[in-house]
């Protein structure tokens, strides 16, 4: 579309090879009455132009706060932001809100999770698109409308000339998410955040929306950061994946390397918990025991240790730092990584010692949170078909 989009991307596709986004030791803490919530706790990464990064983790792992912090959307008296976010060489954390307005929409944009609530219900779709077109590009009302129609067409909304005058409630969930994408793309941003863009949608619509985002990325040479809790969503669609847990990146790697060679037990556990359609029915899922830690009082040592089937004494006292793996760009923070002799030994030791308290039982991970009444569950579990039971050992 849009001269708007192409002009920005031309002016910016400067031949520099430096990454578009450099995040260094970014911390976002919220001061609450109950204590200091370390929502993002020292995240560093670089993102090259035109690449797609997937940020994966459970609810409460800090992935959304990370994106909002980079975009400078976490403001308030009780927010403590430290570290550095370099966007195209410019430090964002020190910018005022007024200065940030030149970035929002124009340079950096975001697609939100819930298309039902992220659109203004009392404004027509067209108005919501043209609003920032007019602000950033200083074009006439008529031009803005034409651009908006071509935007709606580019996100494959049928009959855009009519749809532009619809209110959000007149559209289906999938259509609304398309409209949200059109709004996010309107001013030709170079960096796009997609925060769980398909979690609220059906599988078929999810497939459509993900395809649409992929096409737009290719056509516009956009850099994207896709946030999700489902590793399946980012598997075929990103160049790199960062797995977050308790506000920290625990594993980061090029997508293919990550799936081929999972190192962190949390990544492995996330992968295992996805029901796979090719498995026979009633296959026992390998759920992750327990739930994410309290970010006010995170556990000592490795924050995943209370839920980890590989846990050893060292994990409970000493916090692992990111270290490089075999493949270039693969880093992980674990003392006993999956697929290594140490990891295997740790797992087997746990199995023998019956660390089953909450975790590894017969080569799989128990499901219940505190295992109340687990005797019966364990008995029953024996009768369930357990496939892949050896997988955790590899």
């Amino acid at each position: 579309m849009t001269q708007a989009g192409s002009s920005t991307s031309q002016s910016t596709s400067s031949t520099t090879n430096e990454p578009l986004l450099v995040v260094k030791d970014l911390k976002t803490h919220f001061q609450l009455d109950a204590g200091l919530v370390r929502a993002v706790d020292g995240v560093s990464f670089e993102l090259e132009r035109g690449k797609a990064l997937g940020v994966v983790g459970e609810s409460g792992s800090g992935k959304t706060v990370l994106c909002r912090s980079i975009m400078r959307l976490t403001t308030g008296d009780n927010v403590i932001n430290t570290g550095s976010v370099l966007y195209d060489g410019q430090e964002l954390l020190t910018k005022s809100n007024k200065e940030m307005r030149n970035f929002w929409g124009h340079e950096i944009s975001m697609v939100f999770q819930d298309p039902m609530t992220s659109l203004n219900p009392v404004l027509k779709i067209g108005r919501q698109i043209t609003e920032h077109l007019r602000h950033h590009l200083n074009i006439s009302r008529h031009e803005a409308r034409e651009t908006a129609i071509s935007l709606l067409r580019s996100v494959k909304i049928p009959e855009p000339e009519k749809r532009i005058d619809n209110y959000p409630h007149e559209m289906s969930g999938g259509m609304r998410q398309r409209a949200c994408i059109a709004i996010a793309l309107a001013c030709g941003p170079r960096l796009l955040f997609a925060d769980e863009p398909t979690t609220a949608l059906d599988v078929t619509v999810q497939h459509q929306i993900l395809n649409l985002l992929a096409q737009q990325e290719r056509e516009r040479f956009m850099t994207t950061i896709m946030v999700t809790h489902d590793l399946g969503v980012v598997a075929g669609r990103t160049d790199e994946i960062a797995v977050m847990y308790a506000g920290k990146v625990v594993e980061k790697a090029p997508t293919t390397a990550l799936f081929a060679n999972v190192k962190h037990p949390y990544t492995e556990a996330l992968l295992n918990s996805i029901p796979k359609v090719e498995q026979p029915k009633h296959t026992r899922l390998k759920a992750i025991a327990g739930r994410p830690p309290d970010l006010i009082n995170p556990p000592e040592g490795c924050s995943f240790s209370p839920r980890c089937p590989y846990v050893q004494d060292r994990c409970r006292s000493e916090e692992p730092t990111l270290r490089p793996g075999v493949v270039a760009g693969h880093t992980f923070a674990c003392w006993f990584p999956v697929g290594t002799p140490e990891g295997k030994a740790a797992f087997e030791r746990n199995l023998e010692a019956g660390v089953a308290v909450t975790l590894a039982t017969v080569g799989r991970v128990q499901a219940t949170e505190d295992l109340q009444g687990s005797e019966t569950l364990a008995e029953l579990a024996g009768t369930q078909p357990v496939t892949d039971s050896g997988k955790a050992h590899n």
Partner: protein, 364 residues
């Protein structure tokens, strides 16, 4: 997707629940919403039936119609031989202990002002036992069964629990009346994959422990396939395909099922994503559904007959049936409905049988 026909029903005496020609319509300004149009299925005792389809395909409406909430427009719902649609309101109310429901949004389905102990004991306040101690003992047992510490939870309120824990609590509440059939309406759609796996495993455990019969409604075929013995695929108020979960996956017969399967994101970056296998167009309006096969406006293999004749359920194997004129695999019995209106819905409105060749999106 016409899915009319009852070829797939099993002998009467085997089923706990038997739904025949279930029709649910809602009058709206400018017409009638055909939410569910003549679907039939049965569920045996101890079995899990998965109902899968997109938003708007009528799967939740089907679940509610079984509970007679609201009463269906037409058709019969037999629970343990008794036809629920014939019962008066008071008798229905009494049968409701046998039927329980678990809802999609765990947090909003619990009263935020009640304490967990009260929430779980509530059904017993209506149905007994009426002794408060006895009620708490049962509630305690159920909370333990779902992995919630009853001592801690009793005096807490829903907001103090995570989404996964709230879903466990609503499952405990559904279990206290010892229901025969539990309808789970998208119970894991609002949860993270990790919590989703916990809940699915727990449902399997509870099913084995209490001999539950479940109807599991969801839009994710991977989830449905994991937990169900049989899967029924729905589209726009009709049933497309029904059969054993593994069989449906191994031998996809309906084009729509195949698209549903192809849309599941695979956690494997080496699998090339086929952007072509995408459902084109929008869901047609249920006020004016396409004639003949309702899926034809978005189906790549649709031909002239699909607009004219509604396909009936045809047998593939004894445990696998499909309603399609052009199934993806061989179907050994040909059962084509005569090109006359076959069900009430079409007679009333005339819309479902008019052989107009609508294009996708035309009937918005």
């Amino acid at each position: 997707m016409a899915g009319s026909g009852k070829a797939h029903l099993r002998p009467n005496d085997e089923s706990l629940l038997r739904v025949e020609d279930l029709t649910v319509e809602f009058p709206v300004k400018g017409g009638v919403v055909h939410a569910v149009s003549g679907i039939s299925f049965d569920v045996c005792r101890g079995e899990t039936l998965g109902l899968v389809g997109e938003s708007g395909c009528g799967k939740s409406t089907t679940g509610r119609a079984i509970l007679q909430l609201p009463r269906p427009t037409g058709g019969d719902v037999y629970l343990d031989g008794a036809n629920l649609t014939d019962l008066d309101d008071e008798s229905i109310r009494k049968r409701r202990t046998d039927l329980q429901m678990i809802f999609q949004d765990p947090i909003s389905s619990l009263n935020p002002r009640r304490r967990i102990g009260e929430v779980v004991a509530e059904p017993m306040k209506v149905w007994g036992p009426f002794d408060a101690d006895e009620q708490w003992q049962t509630a305690k047992k159920m909370l333990e069964a779902v992995g919630i510490d009853p001592g801690i939870a009793r005096y807490k309120r829903p907001h103090e629990f995570s989404g996964g824990q709230c879903q466990r609590i609503s499952i405990a509440r559904a279990l206290v009346t010892e229901p025969e059939l539990i309808i789970c309406d998208e119970p894991v759609s609002a949860l993270d994959v990790s919590v989703q796996a916990q809940i699915l495993n727990m449902l399997e455990d509870l099913k084995a422990r209490y001999g539950l019969t479940l109807i599991f409604i969801a839009h994710d075929l991977a989830v449905v396939k994991n937990i169900s013995d049989r899967v029924a695929v729905m589209y726009l108020g009709k049933m497309c395909e029904i059969g054993d979960s593994d069989e449906i996956y191994n031998n996809v017969a309906h084009p729509y099922t195949s698209i549903l399967l192809g849309s599941i994101p695979l956690p494997d970056p080496t699998v090339e994503i086929d952007e072509e296998v995408e459902l084109g167009g929008e869901l047609p309006s249920p006020i004016n559904p396409p004639s003949g096969c309702r899926f034809r406006t978005r189906c790549t293999s649709a031909t002239e007959i699909c607009g004219r004749v509604e396909p009936l359920m045809r047998r593939i194997t004894d445990t696998h049936y499909v309603a399609c004129h052009h199934p993806l695999i061989e179907v050994d019995e040909v059962a084509v409905a005569p090109p006359t209106p076959t069900h009430r819905v079409s007679e009333k409105t005339g819309s479902a049988t008019t052989p107009t060749h609508q294009q996708p999106g035309e009937n918005q």
